[in-house]
C-alpha cells in the first residue's frame, strides 16, 4: 500500500491547500456515501486481486513446466496443501511469534512516544538525543538479536520482545517527535494569541498534528516487529515459534512446510497492518488520506 518510507522522510501535508479550495461544490457535503461507493471500491481492488491470481497461476505453471525442485521453489498447490494439513501446528507457532512481536511493538511504541513527548518538552533532550536516534534508525538493529537472547534468556519470550522493542522504538520515536515539533507556526501563533498554556498547545495542536506521523511509523513498525521476532527466533529458543519452524523444516528439506509457515507469517503481517489502518481511520477520520475515497 502507499506508505512510502515513513521511517526516513515523512511526506504528508502542505499540498492540500489547492484541493481544499476546490473541494467544495455547492451545498452537497462531501462524505456522503453513494450506492456506487462499494462498486467503486471493488473496481479499485479488482486489478490487485487479478494480479494475485495471475502471479500464483504463473508460479504454478512455471514450476510444473520446468519441473523445478521444491527446495528451489515449491508449487503453490503444495504449499496450500501443507498450509491446511499442518494448520494447527503452524498457527500455534504463529500465535507464539505474534505474542513476541506484539509485546515488543507495544513496549517499543510506548517508549518511543514517551521519549518523543520529552523531546518537545525539553529542547536539550531533543538536541542531545535526535542525532543518535536518527543514526540508530539507519543501523540494522536486528543484529542485536543474539545479544538480547543472551541478555534476557534464550527461552524467554522477553528476549525476542526486547529486539522487537528496540527495532520499533526508533521509527516511532523519530516520526512522532517530528509530528509534534513540526507544527504550523501560524497554529502556534494562534494558540499564543489565546494565551494558551503549553499543555493546551500540546493537547489541541501538537498531538493531533502528530497522529498521522505516528500511524505512518506504526504501519512500518508492525511489519518490522514480525521480521524482528522471526529473525530473533532463528538464533535459538523455544521450538514452537515460526522462526524455528521455518528453520527446522528447511533443514529437513521440507520446503512446502517452510513456505506454509511463511504464508502464516505474511497473513499475520497483513492482519497487523489492516488493524492499524482501521485504528487510524477511527482515530482520525478527518485526515487528508481518507478524503478522496468518497469524493472520487
Amino acid at each position: 500500500m502507499n506508505d512510502p518510507g515513513a521511517t526516513r522522510d515523512v511526506e504528508i501535508h502542505e499540498d492540500h491547500e489547492s484541493d481544499v479550495l476546490t473541494a467544495f461544490e455547492g451545498d452537497v457535503p462531501s462524505g456522503t456515501r453513494t450506492p456506487s461507493a462499494l462498486a467503486h471500491r471493488l473496481r479499485h481492488v479488482g486489478p490487485a486481486v487479478a494480479a494475485f491470481f495471475i502471479i500464483v497461476a504463473l508460479w504454478e505453471a512455471v514450476t510444473r513446466l520446468f519441473d523445478i525442485e521444491s527446495f528451489i521453489l515449491p508449487k503453490p498447490s503444495e504449499i496450500v496443501v501443507k498450509f491446511f494439513s499442518d494448520a494447527s501446528i503452524i498457527w500455534a507457532a504463529g500465535l507464539n511469534t505474534l505474542y513476541e512481536a506484539l509485546g515488543g511493538l507495544v513496549i517499543g511504541t510506548v517508549l518511543g512516544v514517551l521519549v518523543a513527548l520529552a523531546t518537545v518538552r525539553w529542547v536539550r533532550v531533543r538536541e542531545g538525543l535526535m542525532p543518535f536516534a536518527i543514526a540508530a534508525n539507519s543501523v540494522p538493529i536486528i543484529a542485536l538479536a543474539p545479544i538480547t537472547n543472551a541478555m534476557f534468556g534464550l527461552t524467554s519470550p522477553v528476549s525476542k520482545m526486547a529486539v522487537v522493542a528496540v527495532v520499533v522504538f526508533f521509527p516511532v520515536m523519530i516520526n512522532t517527535a517530528r509530528g509534534l515539533i513540526e507544527v504550523d507556526v501560524r497554529e502556534l501563533e494562534l494558540m499564543r494569541s489565546y494565551a494558551a498554556s503549553p499543555r493546551t498547545v500540546m493537547r489541541q495542536v501538537r498531538v493531533p498534528h502528530a497522529l498521522p506521523y505516528f500511524f505512518s511509523a506504526l504501519k512500518v513498525s508492525s511489519a518490522l516487529s514480525l521480521i524482528a521476532a522471526i529473525v530473533a527466533e532463528y538464533f535459538g529458543g523455544p521450538q514452537d515459534v515460526l522462526g524455528q519452524y521455518i528453520l527446522n523444516r528447511a533443514f529437513q528439506l521440507l520446503f512446502p512446510e517452510a513456505w506454509a509457515a511463511i504464508l502464516v507469517a505474511s497473513i499475520l503481517g497483513i492482519g497487523f497492518y489492516v488493524t492499524i489502518l482501521i485504528a487510524e481511520r477511527l482515530v482520525m477520520p478527518w485526515h487528508v488520506a481518507f478524503r478522496s475515497a468518497d469524493d472520487a
Partner: protein, 263 residues
Amino acid sequence: MSNDARVVVEARGVSKVFGASGSGQVEALRGIDLSITGGEFVSLIGPSGCGKSTLLRLVGDLLSPTRGELQVNGKNPHQARLDHDYGMVFQRATLLDWRTVRKNVELPLEILDSAPAERQERANRMLELVQLGEFAEHYPWQLSGGMQQRVAIARALTFRPALLLMDEPFGALDEMTRELMQQEVLRIWRETDTTVIFVTHSIPEAVFLSSRVVVMSPRPGRIADIIEVDLSYPRDEDTREADAYYAKITEVREALRRQEASA
C-alpha cells in the same frame, strides 16, 4: 460603531530591529507613533517590507518592540494578550483540520474554560453572524477558501475581543469573494462594536473598509501618512462606484507614490 473616545492602541516611538546586534540587523520599524480609538477601523497599507505586519504583531504581542512604548487598552500588549483582548485572523484561515467548523469556533472559549453550554451558544451565534450556521458540523476542508476565512473570523470574535487584528485576511481569495468578504467584515464590525486593525496591500480594499488608512513606507518601516476616509457607513456596492471613493483611492495611491519617490 460607536466612536467612544477611549484609546485602544497607543504607540509612542515604537521601533523594531530584527537580528542580533551587528551587521545582520534589519530595522523593520522606526519611530512609530499611532493612536487608535475604540470602534475605529484602521488599515495599514504599504509595499512589502514596510513593516505593516510587524506593527500588527507588535500590537498583538507576537513580537516585542525593541524601543518605544506600546499600550493596548491601557496595558502592555503582553498583559492584553493574557486578558484575551485580541482576536486574530491571518492570511490563511489556519483552522484545525481535526475539528469541525463548530469545534474550531469553540476553540478559544474552550481555552478560556467557559461552560460547554455557553460555548455552544456563542459558537452558534457567531456562525449565524458569518452566515455559516448550516455548516457547523462540516470539516474545514469541505469549505471553500472564503468560507474558511469566515470561520476564522467567527473564531476570532467568539470571546468578544476588544481588538480584532487582521493580517491580509483576504489576500488568498479571488476578487469576487474578496469583495463579498469586505462587505461581510464591515457588517460584522458594525454589529459587534469591535476595533479593527487590518493589514492589506490593496488600496481599494483599505479605502472601502477603513475609517483611517495608515500609509507606511519601507526601509526602515515608518508611517508616511494617515488618511481619514470620510465616506459614511454603511458602505455597499454603491460606495464602490462613488466619486468620493475614487478620490480617496487616488489620495492613498499618491501618498504611496510620494514616499516611493522620496525613498
